[in-house]
Symmetry: C2
Subunit: 468 residues, 2 copies
């Protein structure tokens, strides 16, 4: 397995007896070294081999994080930040050993400022927990990668998901943050003003850095008013191209769709099996519209006209909470639904993102490729952004299948790059996409390495991630 | 003048005969050393003393920029990038001497991708030139700092302006860019996909870096469809607090205002003098709404209800192009209008930005402060973002007045920081706000210095800016 070799650490920097003793003294029962706990902190939602840390520390405060970083720095031991472990490119693996820093107990909502439409949270708060906390305020946090990820992890991987077409990604929704740097210092990147031109944008530098430049210890996030009216619905198309063209025209027309998701026929089959949607096995768009009652009605009418022009069936939407929830639960369960297509196989989820004008070509070529391989690999996508996922169902015990999957991923990335796209719209680089990052950005990767070396000369913060 | 001392360079690194000869050989007539040209490239729209470069080079290609950077690096001579010279915090001054790099001749629109709603431009293209170029496409670029600035300069200073409340700032509207780094290498920060999670966000790091980390040589910018309906109008209020409260409620209600600008009574007087608006000398909001006809009508109705609740007069808007243009021309001419309030004085424009909930308090305290000083200093603001400007009319020949203005700016910044705001919403740090950056972000400034040192160890890229 070429990939297993590729993700091997460049050095062994195990947490030895001395640092473990120091950690035990400082953290007591909050240091865990049992194999089950360690394995659970290696990567779980990918086919990359699990690379266990030597120990897990459960932090409860910023001071805990600072202490841990200083101790690990003193002993030259890596630190791998961990939220909920739902990342997809090996971000929480420990290729060189070291300590997994579990931030899930830092789960307090520190402040909500309804007048300013923002809040301050610790990194272990999950997106669902935040929205539950906000329930009585009339506000919500829209970024929704599917999994109930931690907000710290979402920021660290620059997550986005179904709502990004309207509300942006984590890049756009973190006003500022605090982070512990490799020397243990605590930095606050921005005040609470909605905009600023005060110096280098450290917020955006740490968002998406996957814990390799600093460890996020709190986040100041934008919030939005819950729309007066929400309408969700589906629309079947004769062809994937028809669906993609409808998406392009929708975006160009400035219809402020909140969600616009493509599911290919195989994805519909899986969703039908898992969630009993009873949809015809044709390409579909799942759509959500937000706004006032009048605005949503106008959007729906405009969208229906566009779909009709592109071989789409009737667009039937519902504003009923229950029906909407059922639809999006089916979409969010897709990772599990896909597995029903080939029981016993593992889901290998990968994503690329291209300019919207190239989306239809990119998906068509990818479907051909899947067909040639004879793979079972449904496609779903946040197509308003030009971002789509291929979920390959792979027997990970079969070296031949792994090899085929790796070759497929390489072709998919080459295809996206040839269309001036990116090797990852939202999964991040982690371990799995480092070589593609080099192909995508070339000289810019040297600049990234300059930053990494300047910030973390010992390379103790999540080593083996992002940089090839 | 304390500030004049504060902006003095830490070293003299003049462009001597050797580098000038090399530049002459390479650039011929595109190297200028006459005093008038050099003075015009020192800072012109601020009260900071003009610090002339030793020479000006007019670049026409990326290769020119690379050559210049390599030559200057070899001779340890500073480079100060120059767009149109409309920045307000001394960004184009040359405190240590060196070469001003004039990018205004790199003014080609390299590509427009209507289906993807983006374009690629050279840094010397101005925002007005871009919008003129786009005229037949039905698309526009919304970011509008008032001055007809260059897009490279706007990116470098993270400009925003009147439309930012709806369309974001330059931070949000640059998809990717190319830049020449301090070693002369050319870096492309991102592909053309709408979103990406591929590695460190170098785009956002260079946006707002004021040319201190790299020199922007092209920009991939987001575009937007020209809205079907645009309505502009004004609304008078009894009090500034009433106007601010109306703004808060408008933002909270999620009305997607495209512009919402406050002018205090003195600002209205100036605008009346300059543009014959004939408005009563009361606090006003200037508002613009974008959308479909139905959506704009709905927004206008909702906004009028909010203003009525907050002591506002009738909100009367117009969709006529001519009337709208007249209103926004008056707003954009404000820098010049303010000067009519005190003929012979210089305008010292400064800005801060606070959480919207604190805006009313911050402006009220600032008006009290202005009154106590006996200054003539109208206030205008992009209040939907919590961002406002004070334009002090100062006799710059009077040390006492300069001292008073500097003390006032210090108090204004202290007030904004005490409210968890920023010392600059959109003017940048440049030379003028370096001490406030330290007060605002503390330890984070050390991290910025780490980046600067790693990127530009010789400190040849726009030295004396941003970092205290």
């Amino acid at each position: 397995m070429a990939l297993a070799d590729a993700i091997r650490g460049t050095s062994e920097r195990r947490a030895g007896a001395a640092v473990l003793a120091a950690l035990r003294e400082r953290f007591g029962e909050r240091l865990a070294t049992g194999e089950d706990v360690r394995r659970a902190h290696g990567h779980t939602t990918t086919y990359l081999p699990n690379q266990m840390p030597d120990a897990v520390v459960f932090a409860e405060t910023e001071a805990d994080v600072q202490t841990l970083v200083r101790l690990c720095a003193a002993h030259d031991v890596p630190i791998v930040p961990f939220g909920t472990g739902s990342s997809l490119e090996g971000q929480v693996n420990a290729p060189e050993g070291g300590v997994s820093l579990d931030l899930s107990r830092m789960d307090r909502v520190l402040a909500v400022h309804p007048e300013d439409l923002d809040c301050v949270v610790e990194p272990g708060v999950t997106r669902e927990a935040l929205n539950a906390h906000l329930r009585d305020t009339g506000l919500f946090f829209p970024i929704d990668p599917g999994a109930n990820a931690s907000l710290g992890g979402m920021a660290a991987t620059r997550a986005s998901g179904t709502n990004a077409v309207r509300y942006g990604t984590m890049r756009d929704n973190v006003i500022g943050l605090t982070a512990v740097m490799a020397d243990g210092s605590l930095v606050r990147t921005a005040r609470r003003a909605k905009k600023t031109s005060a110096g280098y944008d450290l917020t955006r530098l740490l968002v998406g850095a996957e814990g390799t430049l600093g460890i996020i210890t709190s986040l100041n996030l934008k919030l939005y008013g819950i729309p007066e009216t929400v309408l969700s619905g589906v629309c079947a198309f004769e062809t994937v191209k028809g669906a993609c063209d409808a998406v392009i025209q929708t975006v160009q027309a400035g219809i402020p769709v909140a969600r616009i998701e493509l599911l290919d026929p195989l994805a519909i089959r899986a969703a039908n099996m898992h969630s009993a949607l009873g949809l015809p096995e044709a390409p579909h768009l799942f759509v959500e519209l937000h706004g006032s009652a009048g605005s949503v009605a106008e959007q729906a009418e405009f969208f229906a006209a566009i779909t009709a022009e592109n071989g789409g069936g009737a667009f039937e939407g519902s504003t009923l909470t229950e029906e909407r929830a059922r639809l999006w639960k089916a979409r969010h369960s897709f990772y599990w639904a896909g597995m029903l297509l080939r029981p016993g196989a593992r889901a290998v989820a990968t994503d690329v993102c291209v300019p919207v004008s190239r989306l239809s070509d990119c998906i068509a070529d990818t479907l051909d490729d899947i067909g040639r391989c004879g793979m079972i690999a449904p496609i779903v996508g946040h197509v308003g952004d030009g971002n789509f996922h291929v979920q390959m169902m792979v027997d990970v015990e079969s070296p031949a299948e792994i090899e085929m999957a790796e070759a497929f991923i390489a072709r998919l990335n080459g295809r996206a790059l040839a269309m001036d796209g990116t090797c990852t719209g939202e999964h991040g680089i982690g371990q799995g996409k480092r070589s593609f990052l080099q192909a995508e950005l070339g000289e810019a990767v040297s600049v990234m390495r300059t930053i990494k070396t300047a910030f973390d000369p010992q390379n103790i913060l999540n080593p083996g991630k992002i940089l090839p």
